[in-house]
């Protein structure tokens, strides 16, 4: 199908985007890469009256180590992060996870900021943010706010962002330490049936609940995963346990 009609403006700065969001109200949506929003619009699951295109805001896709953290601008595209040597050196968990994010032609457009703000519970990156204890930076007309990843994902496609707030960057504390990443999907690029992004102490499961779920390595997997065409909830729960065991072995963690 085709998207319903909407108005479109291009924001040149973060301030301009936030002002437009505040002025246009809840029927306005930010668009960056559009790889989640445009399918939803074409399927008419979303019908914003106004799109505010932030895709050309200068400098918002920068990837750099800043003191004891890796800072990734919201507009950094999956493909750019995947190919970035600094990311591969400091946070190889992200590099590994990004290999599993959709297909090459989606990764060239999709952005980390859009992915996190979309908050798809089957997505790899939100779980990575939990495992890495990332901090999400958001800007509004009231100023800049830093939100711990643990408090950011609030439910199915829901985040802690206020209606006039824009996600501008993520900050990942360094050193990131050892990692484990594995997901089970029927085909490369498909949505994960279940996945696990883990550091030595934080195991973040995805595709098991309405949001990514963080558990200590040996904590009970008290999830009630959904049934859908890909898998039953019981199969997801079983596979989550398999991934946890794989992670414990790979990371050399003993009870």
């Amino acid at each position: 199908m085709k998207a319903p009609a909407f108005d479109y403006i291009r924001a040149a700065t973060v301030a301009e985007a936030c002002a437009a969001l505040a002025a246009e109200g809840p029927d306005a949506r930010l668009i960056a890469g559009g790889q989640s929003l445009l399918p939803a619009m074409n399927l008419r699951l979303a019908s914003p009256r106004m799109l505010i295109d932030i895709g050309r805001i200068a400098g918002l896709g920068r990837i750099a180590v800043d003191g004891d953290m890796l800072r990734i601008g919201a507009l950094a595209r999956h493909d750019a992060i995947l190919r970035d040597a600094t990311v591969a050196h400091h946070v190889p968990l992200l590099t590994e996870a990004l290999r599993h994010v959709a297909h090459p032609a989606i990764r060239t457009r999709g952005t980390i900021g859009g992915n996190l703000a979309h908050a798809d519970p089957a997505s790899e990156l939100p779980a990575c943010m939990l495992a890495l204890q990332a901090v999400i930076e958001a800007v509004s007309p009231r100023g800049t706010r830093r939100i711990a990843a643990d408090a950011f994902f609030a439910g199915l496609f829901q985040t802690a962002l206020e209606p006039d707030e824009m996600l501008t960057a993520v900050e990942i504390p360094l050193p990131a330490g050892p990692f484990f990443f594995q997901e089970i999907a029927r085909r490369a690029g498909d949505y994960a049936i279940v996945g696990l992004a883990a550091s030595a102490t934080r195991f973040a499961y995805f595709s098991v609940a309405d949001r990514p779920a963080m558990r200590a390595p040996f904590a009970a997997l008290d999830f009630d995963p959904p049934n859908d065409l890909q898998a039953t909830g019981a199969m997801r729960l079983h596979l989550a346990g398999v991934l946890r065991d794989n992670a414990l072995t790979a990371l050399g963690i003993r009870a």
């Binding site: 199908m1 085709k2 998207a3 319903p4 009609a5 909407f6 108005d7 479109y8 668009i31 559009g34 790889q35 445009l38 399918p39 074409n42 399927l43 799109l51 295109d53 895709g55 493909d79 959709a102 297909h103 090459p104 032609a105 989606i106 060239t108 457009r109 085909r187 490369a188 690029g189």
Partner: protein, 158 residues
Amino acid sequence: MKIVLTVNGETVRADIEPRVHLADFLREHLSLTGTHLGCEHGVCGACTVRLDGALVRACLVLAVQADGCSVETIEGLSDSGEIADLQKAFHDRNALQCGYCTPGMLIAAQDLLLHDQDPSRAAIREHLSGNYCRCTGYHAIVDAVAATAAERNRGRPG
């Protein structure tokens, strides 16, 4: 909204509604019907084109987002001769039947070969995993891409 972009090397000016995606713009406004529309939500890969050199889904890019950009379609890649060997390999190995997925397959395969001169069959399958074929099956397509890579490597010095 007024846009100016380059399509297959030619400057194009248009005044279009924001809801028109790039695939419809290419097909309906420029009559470049080699870009096919399958699912229209980014799953099937039939609408794959190059945007500023990068592989994209034309159904998931608004034409207004392509303002100021350079777009290359299957017509451009075909006319320039850039993928003549790949097209011949598809033909030789019966890597198409109905042909609906073929433009997207060719552009995605060429993108892989530009980044990886000697891809494994697994790498070819992974790179083409976002392009659906519903009649030929993937085996002959992977054969054609692998054969093209091998042929190009024979032509390279050293």
